[in-house]
């Protein structure tokens, strides 16, 4: 078990390095170096690019040095000072721009996963144990509808409904009055009133998929001999279904956690633009369009790291729940 975890942990390091290299290559990809494109940008908008700033920046990133030195310095800055570089477009350190957004991205994704599970597991279990019942057919139908509707459309419809019938502005995470207010209970409640919209919208298609998977997994498990053994012992049907086959059918989900996260993060981008949410998605798109590569690269690096972390966590969880893996 510990050996298994240690292996995974050690794998984490090379994976991170590979991702950081890719990210760095991405940053360097546009022609010219970023200071010269920055100067061009400033001049285009009629401002004078101050020579002092340009020299300071060149020195800070060691742009006069070979590429591999630049890479090491960038990585060193991240590791020692959490300095992700400087955003051209915002003329601010990348770190200032992304921490809040990253936190919101994680919060929204996390809530969406929880909401999806709360909805999908009971329905999937009921559908499998009552295969071909009216309930099962209804949810099969709803599932196909849910998987078919584009989520941005659903977001637009919800926004329109909220506005047309309740006069509510569902966009963003806060009402006008609370946007810049300090945290308070009222602000928290206001946030919840807004937060459910993206969570519901993002959950719809993944819930539909998860119900199908849970149902199929459980149907497989329900046919296994150990279910008959449990029945022959005199357990009640609910008790035995929850203790044995459901428990086994959950394993694929636990190993799937890692892949839910990147899917959700890329899924949130469009919804965040539609609902004007402060997540990383919209900033990332804009930074890519304006070639603000340090910002784009850092977001990419952080999200990729989160995904590796997710993989690591799901490996641990899988080892905890499945003795066949733990005791290898």
């Amino acid at each position: 078990m510990w050996k298994f975890l240690l292996q995974r942990l050690l794998l984490f390091i090379p994976t991170f390095l590979v991702i950081s290299v890719i990210t760095f290559v991405l940053i360097q990809a546009p022609p010219g170096d970023y200071i010269s494109s920055y100067a061009t940008q400033l001049e285009a908008s009629g401002e004078e690019a101050s020579e002092a700033l340009l020299i300071a920046l060149r020195k800070r990133y060691g742009l006069d040095q070979p590429v591999y030195v630049q890479y090491v310095k960038w990585l060193w800055g991240i590791f020692t000072r959490l300095d992700f570089g400087h955003s051209m477009q915002w003329n601010r350190p990348v770190g200032d721009l992304i921490w809040d957004r990253l936190a919101w991205t994680v919060v929204i994704s996390f809530l969406t996963i929880i909401f999806t599970w709360i909805l999908a597991f009971p329905i999937g279990i009921y559908s499998a144990t009552h295969q071909y019942s009216g309930f099962d057919y209804s949810f099969t139908f709803l599932g196909f509808v849910g998987a078919g509707i584009p989520d941005f459309l659903l977001a637009l419809v919800l926004m329109w409904l909220g506005f047309a019938f309740f006069g509510l502005d569902m966009g963003g995470l806060f009402s006008e009055a609370f946007r810049d207010a300090p945290w308070s209970w009222a602000k928290f409640v206001d946030m919840l009133k807004h937060l459910w919209v993206p969570v519901v919208v993002l959950s719809v298609s993944s819930t539909a998929g998860l119900i199908r998977t849970m149902r199929a997994n459980l149907l497989d498990e329900l046919r296994k001999p150990y279910v008959i053994t449990a029945r022959a012992k005199g357990m009640t049907e609910w008790h035995l279904v929850l203790k044995y086959p459901v428990r086994v059918a959950l394993n694929p989900f636990i190993s799937g956690i890692a892949y839910v996260l990147p899917q959700l993060v890329s899924g949130t981008t469009i919804i965040s633009i539609v609902l004007s949410l402060p997540t990383t998605g919209p900033v990332q798109i804009r930074s890519l369009m304006s070639q603000d590569m340090y910002l784009a690269g850092s977001i990419f690096l952080l999200l990729a790291s989160l995904t590796i972390l997710g993989t690591f966590i799901s490996d641990i969880l899988l080892a905890v729940v499945d003795p066949r893996i733990r005791l290898e």
Partner: protein, 335 residues
């Protein structure tokens, strides 16, 4: 009911309702299981042995259902003396759940897949006590250790913590037997318990079952394809064909004066089977008819060497007693 009888099955019909039609898995079978004795059940694959066993416990999987017939269970314990008709109970009836695992328990062919892969052996064994005797749940761990020791599992303290995949096939089947015997049932149903094991392990498991039987005075319903195992284990034997019991007799009579042409053919095929131990009984000419489309009359008439036209293909033969405790369902013996 005869006080020596534990289970009395009369005209049991258990069907599976499939899209393609109705499979009459058990089609009017009658048999009795005597207290403390071993009833061997033989027959080719698909003849309804397992479904009969599942019917006794009311665990026939969907889309199967007991259609009609009686399964009488005789309970005599101290002052208690009553007869329960299992087919009157619902599968989910609390009384039925009480019977499962405590009065009647079952072991299966595949000891690996018959245990949950993600729970320890100890967890799954203790559960039987926790379910049926919640007032004794504190004793469960010690009783499990004790039972594991009795079925010959070495180092039980360590093995209760094991997961099924960590045990060998023979050990798993021993653990399965321990789980089934935890509450000292009056009937143990063993559905091909040694088919998945090698010959040496098979011999050990069979010996263990005989030992436990004489210790606990329980009856065993032993389902198998293997007439050799029947000779070794059974006191009484029923031979099934296409959902029906075609012959019942004490084990000696089965081997020394077989009556039904099907049983005679099975016995003639023994030498061939012994060469390929564990091979299924397929040595008889012809194949078992499609269970969706059972022929009229005697189910065996299509393959029978003694087929009587106009009789065997029209009338279902009734049970005829040919000797004490020996009945056969065949037109050759009706007068």
């Amino acid at each position: 009911m005869d006080p020596g009888i534990l289970i009395d099955i009369q005209h049991l019909h258990t069907n599976f309702y499939l899209r393609e039609g109705v499979v009459k898995a058990v089609n009017g079978a009658s048999l009795t299981i005597a207290k403390g004795r071993t009833l061997g059940v033989v027959g080719e694959s698909g003849c309804g042995k397992s479904v009969t066993a599942q019917s006794i416990l009311q665990i026939v999987p969907r889309p199967g259902r007991i259609e009609s017939g009686d399964i009488l269970l005789h309970i005599a314990e101290g002052d208690l003396d009553e007869t329960i008709n299992i087919t009157d109970l619902n599968p989910g009836d609390p009384l039925m759940r009480d019977i499962r695992g405590s009065r009647i328990s079952m072991i299966f062919q595949e000891p690996m897949t018959s245990f949950s892969p993600v729970h320890t052996v100890g967890n799954q064994l203790e559960e039987t006590i926790k379910l049926h005797q919640p007032e004794h749940r504190d004793e469960a761990p010690t009783r499990v250790l004790d039972m594991l020791r009795r079925v010959g599992i070495a180092n039980p303290e360590r093995n209760v913590e094991s997961y099924p995949h960590q045990l060998s096939g023979g050990m798993r089947q021993r653990a399965m037997i321990a789980m089934a015997l935890m509450l000292e049932p009056s009937l143990l149903i063993a559905d091909e318990p040694t088919t998945a094991l090698d010959v040496t392990t098979e011999a050990q498991i069979l010996a263990l079952m005989r030992d436990m039987q004489s210790e606990l005075h329980m009856a065993i319903m032993f389902i198998t394809h293997d007439l050799g195992v029947i000779a070794e284990m059974a006191d009484d034997v029923v031979v099934m064909y296409l959902g029906r019991v075609v012959e019942k007799a004490p084990v000696r009579a089965i081997f020394h004066s077989p009556k039904h042409p099907y049983l005679q053919a099975l016995l003639e095929s023994i030498p061939r089977i012994q060469k390929r131990t564990g091979a299924r009984l397929q040595a008889i000419e012809g194949i078992v008819p499609n269970p969706l489309d059972v022929p009229p009359g005697c189910p065996f008439h299509l393959r029978c060497p003694d087929f009587i036209p106009g009789v065997c293909d029209e009338v279902v033969p009734a049970d005829t007693t040919v000797d004490e405790g020996h009945t056969v369902a065949c037109h050759l013996y009706t007068d």
